[in-house]
Symmetry: D2
Subunit: 148 residues, 4 copies
């Protein structure tokens, strides 16, 4: 299993008064990587069509993040997406954020998070099974059991 | 004419890598003051009902801001709202942002902007006259001609 | 033990494409309540002086949130702050977010989170004991053991 | 003269309650394109080193934007950067934002803005001439006189 990876430069405005990336932005980075997964594998309108045309949504039920080392302006965030659990009526994603290697510094772990999404029929606001095409999109990202 | 004033503390996350409020946030401050004008004068659901129930929208046609002095974390932004032009099918707002006085510093000008909004029937996406109740909400905020 | 409460209107820009508050914003709401705790109890420059003058920082080590019901534009978020653990070299905060009661709806739970902060001497980047005045600020917010 | 172009997908969180990109985000898009200009032409740490090592800053003095057509989630913003005035102690940038062409829609203008930056010696907080290497970076982006 190789994770999907999205590289996102830390932006001038991601920084807070302490001079590091504002911690809620890491959850935003998670979401950017999720959006890019759809763009890269299906197309730029794939995710919006799932939501607006097919009326399938992924509301977040639980999100958690452990912070290891801060990111700063000038760094690039590398966000790895994998899937811990894919089945029934929810999906659990794992996101690992790294500071990318550059001329000055080696690659280094920055944060690790988990996000549990429900799968919802937006027309009726009820839970629904994970659609087949979402399973197809994500199946190679499922981590083997007991991996850490 | 006395402007409407909204005080908003500069937030930890409003700061950019240069240690001052990220300049696009000033347009967000303008919008916060606009939202608070509705909340304070009509009620917490006044603006959302205008949009969602009555289907009247105010898309921004032109926005401009002159920046005089930066704001920093610990400062409070005082945002004054007045109206330069109220009539026909558009409204022109003026926003003046000040750093609030505190124990350490006197009140000082930070930025001044103008925002031109169209008035739009959202059901048909066509321009419409400013509704009577919007005129009533804003009429005491209209600046006399030639004021600066 | 009564928690500290900060009320923050959901902003026009807090909404995402799904029409509800973007989930990473909840962690931002947590931070707003934390900032307001300092403002309300000590003063508008209390937190910035702790950081910049006294060089004491609170980097987040772990953050988690369970989402119960979404918030929408027009709602007001009521954010309750309490302390689960205050001691040694870290502080664990609990944040409970509610949709405020209004004419149309009763108060309702929206989300619950926990944020673990280290306490750090920013001049030397090493962990340090929780300063006395921070203990004093927070001690009435400490939840009794076994509370849920 | 060919402008520098940066393509940025509209993000799930760029959307406001009206279902379109929140207008202050356009000024953020301008800044993203400015950051990418440095990254693409010099390197990922070029802009941060100018600020932090060389202590040269570009505070915004005046920003303006005309909005032609909204952007929505699923669209990609193409942001063109050119220079209207490069000389003395300030730089005036022009930013043109387009909705990128895709299978469903042709390319279309969305917004046009101008941003005037001062050039400042951050160590002494005084205006300074545009550094030579900044002139070199930007000189091919200068629009011929009278262009619109």
């Amino acid at each position: 299993m190789a994770p999907f990876v999205h590289a996102e430069p830390v932006r001038f405005s991601d920084i807070d008064h302490a001079g590091i990336v504002y911690y809620p932005r890491f959850f935003h980075y998670f979401h950017l990587a999720f959006e890019e997964l759809w763009r890269a594998r299906v197309g730029p309108r794939a995710y919006v069509e799932l939501l607006d045309r097919d009326r399938v949504g992924f509301p977040v039920v639980r999100a958690t993040c452990e912070f290891v080392a801060p990111l700063r302006f000038g760094d690039t965030a590398e966000i790895e997406v994998s899937v811990i659990k894919l089945g029934g009526k929810s999906i659990t994603f794992r996101y690992r954020v790294f500071r990318a290697a550059d001329a000055a510094q080696p690659r280094a772990a920055s944060a690790t998070g988990e996000v549990v999404c429900a799968v919802v029929d937006l027309a009726r606001f009820v839970a629904m099974p994970v659609p087949e095409r979402v399973v197809a999109l994500l199946s190679d990202l499922v981590e083997p059991p007991h991996s850490e």
